[in-house]
Symmetry: C2
Subunit: 595 residues, 2 copies
């Protein structure tokens, strides 16, 4: 399907709209302020001199670019002269700081001039990619092309160096991202050269000897031969997104097949129930299949965001509702957990368990953090949060022939020439979604993979996870069974054996120590538990009071031939994405299962 | 009770006798050879010069002393001119190397001369303690007193420096051990001064400001005020042993009370089911109560040995069978796990779980080792294994008034003037113990705390865990129910919730990957499981084939609302102490419990 971007869609209300507003009003400023304080904004002035205090880091361009991209999405929906002025000021710096041949990189201009394109590991092309994404978004949003012009020149420069002259000391990006950005440049400008450059990087990857050639950055074998998601998880999903974008534009079936296999590998062997990817901090990477530790999860916020990008790219190729399921799983759980409820603090890694009494986890290693800091030295996640929240509109609708696809349930309006749609819902607080579309013959509504049952007020046929109804111009109303439900993991996931987690609709729940009197590991929940749904909760989503059991401690003994006694109990649970908002406390997604 | 030492007891057969023989024939040589190669033996020649290759380390004296102590126990039972010559050669060096004022320490004589008694952290008094223990044992074994004479001089020197002159730069041992050694010196020589010196160190501990004053080495508060086992686990149990020895000799009720409370704290809150102590590698220390991780267990071999020393010291004060239970638990499980089946390799830390697919445990930290190395830089555990195995006889019998106490079930002969006893048993392979004693009116036979039932061929009364029978000169035969049984942990032990372990008599079992087709975490065992006991096994003890269930993987899904299916299965289990003898493989003591 053709997926609609931010331009065509207004998000109008509901839970994610509130998050968008929080992002616009608070998180954007929090990130900008840290970027100012840390020197990232002023670095664009290119006046750093050896010995100055704030030496630009190799990935600073990308940090700011992601924030600029987010600003673009916001400006597209609503004038904000102050925000626009901030972006324009940076764009002016970029224009001024850009080399005559089109090259633009802060670090390699002011810190290590003369070393440009010599070190694959220095995030140079990664920064280029994020700048290009931002430039396209800014042109789309404002119609102003100065930024895009600069980035076209830079893309031309890269094309010259890597394709024509072959004068760089390496061949492909050490940290992928430029591949998907170039596809985006191509789509917006129509210039085939950018797609060719993207294809060049994708096709050369893994075929040549260069620094850091290996699974860490997915260059161990040619991309079409890759069958398992390996290495740095963010790099991986960015690469896969680029591969999918290229496959869509070129119809390259072999490349698409590799994408499908990698998607399958991630979602059936290496993904947390929260949509998190990359379970180990060693290389911020995928571990082996089924190695998904909860307490020591890495599950970087950026990787869950990357999963949304990749899934949306796949969805734009083939109408499979499970891609939209993956987007939904990530945004509501492993992405939003990266942001504090006040919008000012961030998780880089997103553990699924915090046990403050487990000293083997919490004192001898730096991770996982059990509280969100305001920023990081490597601050990739916060501006990624900015742009994903600002661009939520881009995940809702798609068009294939005469059918409008509804991929996500978010109150919104779509407008595309004579095609329009209004979706009314309080999902995922509520379970009813009303859709009224014009200009299309059919409406294809995603039935979530998690939904045990649903009702539609129209006749429908199911196709690849979508309920397809003939559009008669009236409201189509979908009601989803959102009774809280137990979810189990495959028994190869060692840490989840004997446990279950609770999901209500797309929301994965967790228990926090602060809400519960006894240690979280002493509770156990039966499969057919009953739960009271409690209001809309302090975190904008229902909380749950789960009827369960609790183990009693022995009286004096440490070990006994008698199993611990069980007594009735209730366990209060909150959405996983809202954990760690009330001080340092235990947390668990996976709770022992009663049988 | 008066507990009988090695002198009065011959171990004559059975499982622990075989371990003694392995120690005598193999382990003693393996340790001596490494000590030779590493320079530890030659270091006693005191001819090290700055810049020489093998610089003596601060704890080398103690390593060798423990081996010498073991040699003494062996020589006491059986002439071995070669072994005796090795010890005598070291004793000659000690005599030659000892300073005129009695001081003896290799490091502070040849590496940092002039710095004696200046640094509490340098194991100086710890080394002294082990040398004194060895000297007493050697005098007892051989009647030769040269070594003991040297150590008496050294003890006199320490008394002078720490009690009379108060000229040292610190006040109490940084690593406890001397306290218990001095009590032993007192008992053997009858010289009150040594007990006074022990009392001095124990009484001053925690009352003065000195380097490293804190919980790490149990000097945070005066010992009589200590209520929780904290800090470095080996130091702790060595201190507690010294405290108990002092309490026994002085009748100090306050000190005894502290010992009881610390014993209780360890055994009801901080002890692995294997008798291991000290669950965290951070400081090789006790963690907080109930924090007993299996995969990241530290559980140092020396700490389990120390638990035997402390429990035996407590048993010598009060006739409580549970002290003997603790000794039995440790020796058969967390101590013997420290030695490979071939007697040549050692565990320093003793994990209760190895999961090679859990990359969060096995790749980012140095511990726990999943295979036994031949030696360590800090090689305290191997010679401790030497001496504990050589001195097993010292844990079997006790005498209180007219009653002979049988604390451990080991085929053996006791001889003490007109008192004698012969114990015949193949325990813990078999479950029958026959005891025939002369010269006592009563026989008090420990009934293990784990025994659900037992039969005795005589009438008896129970007292503090002992079955007391009138001695009629005939054989007393005890038969213990050693049906394999499930054991559960208190629910505050987070990592054991929902799991059980299997014990047959005193032997804790584990499952190893090499014996079982499927991942160990996919098996679950019901409380009333049936198990086939398989022969005497490759490790000298029965193995078990446990009838249980196994989870089936999902077909393609990672998460599902349906719990994984269960199918009947059997799990092969071996004694925990024998794990890691057949290459790198998974291991688990705690297995999921079916309900």
């Amino acid at each position: 399907m053709k997926t609609y971007g931010v331009s065509n869609v207004n998000v109008t209300g509901g839970y994610l709209f509130e998050k968008q507003e929080l992002n616009r009003q608070t998180t954007m400023n929090a990130v900008y302020d840290f970027f100012s304080e840390s020197g990232r904004i002023d670095a664009f002035k290119m006046d750093y001199k050896d010995g100055d205090e704030k030496q630009p880091h190799i990935f600073w361009d990308s940090d700011v670019a992601k924030w600029m991209e987010a600003a673009a999405y916001i400006l597209e929906k609503r004038p904000d002269p102050e925000l626009e002025a901030k972006v324009d000021a940076i764009v002016d710096c970029i224009e001024k700081g850009q080399a005559k041949d089109g090259y633009f990189n802060i670090f390699f201009t002011v810190v290590q001039p003369g070393d440009r394109f010599t070190d694959r590991d220095y995030h140079e092309l990664y920064c280029a990619g994020h700048l290009m994404e931002a430039a396209v978004a800014y042109a789309e949003a404002t119609g102003k092309t100065k930024f895009l012009d600069c980035m076209e020149k830079y893309a031309d420069c890269i094309y010259r160096v890597f394709v024509e002259e072959k004068s760089a000391k390496f061949f492909t990006p050490g940290h992928e991202e430029l591949e998907l950005a170039l596809a985006r440049m191509y789509r917006y400008t129509g210039k085939r050269k950018y797609l060719d450059l993207s294809a060049h990087f994708i096709n050369v990857r893994g075929t040549v000897e260069e620094k850091l050639k290996g699974p860490y950055n997915q260059s161990h074998v040619p991309v079409r031969e890759q069958r398992e998601a390996v290495g740095h998880a963010v790099r991986a999903v960015y690469l896969y997104t680029g591969m999918a974008a290229l496959a869509k534009e070129t119809g390259d079936e072999e490349l698409l097949k590799a994408c499908r296999i990698l998607y399958e590998d991630m979602t059936t062997k290496k993904m947390y129930v929260t949509g998190g990817l990359g379970s180990t901090n060693i290389g911020e990477a995928f571990s082996i299949a089924y190695d998904l530790p909860n307490d020591r999860a890495y599950s970087e916020t950026c990787a869950a965001i990357g999963m949304m990008l990749f899934s949306n790219a796949m969805l734009s190729i083939e109408n499979r509702a499970d891609y939209a399921d993956s987007i939904e799983r990530a945004i509501y759980n492993g992405v939003l957990s990266g942001l504090s409820y006040d919008g000012k603090r961030f998780f880089y890694e997103n553990p699924l368990e915090i046990s403050l009494t487990d000293r083997s986890v919490n004192t001898d290693t730096r991770y996982p953090a059990a509280q969100r800091p305001t920023h990081f030295g490597c601050s990739c996640c916060p501006p990624n949060m900015n742009r994903i929240l600002a661009s939520i509109g881009a995940y809702i609708y798609g068009l294939e022939e005469d059918a409008l696809y509804v991929n996500q349930f978010i109150a919104s309006e779509l407008s595309d020439g004579n095609i329009s749609c209004v979706m009314t819902t309080d999902y995922p607080r509520g379970n009813t979604i009303s859709i009224k579309a014009n200009g299309v013959n059919k409406i294809a509504i995603r039935i979530p993979g998690w939904a045990k049952s649903f009702t539609l007020n129209k006749t429908y046929v199911m196709e690849s996870g979508y309920a397809i109804v003939e559009n008669d111009g009236g409201s189509v109303t979908l009601t989803l069974d959102m009774t809280p439900e137990a979810l189990y993991a495959d028994c190869r996931v060692a840490k989840d054996v004997g446990k279950l987690c609770i999901r209500r609709g797309p929301i994965v729940y967790c228990a926090e120590g602060v809400d519960n009197e006894f240690e979280l590991h002493s509770y156990s929940i039966p499969q057919n538990f009953s739960a009271e749904v409690i209001g809309d909760g302090q975190f904008g989503l229902p909380e749950l009071s789960v009827v369960c059991e609790r183990l009693l401690p022995y009286d004096g003994a440490l070990y006994s031939a008698e199993p611990p006694k069980r007594v009735p109990a209730t366990l209060r649970m909150i959405p996983y994405n809202s954990f760690a908002n009330r001080g340092l406390t235990d947390m668990a997604v996976w709770i022992h299962a009663s049988r």
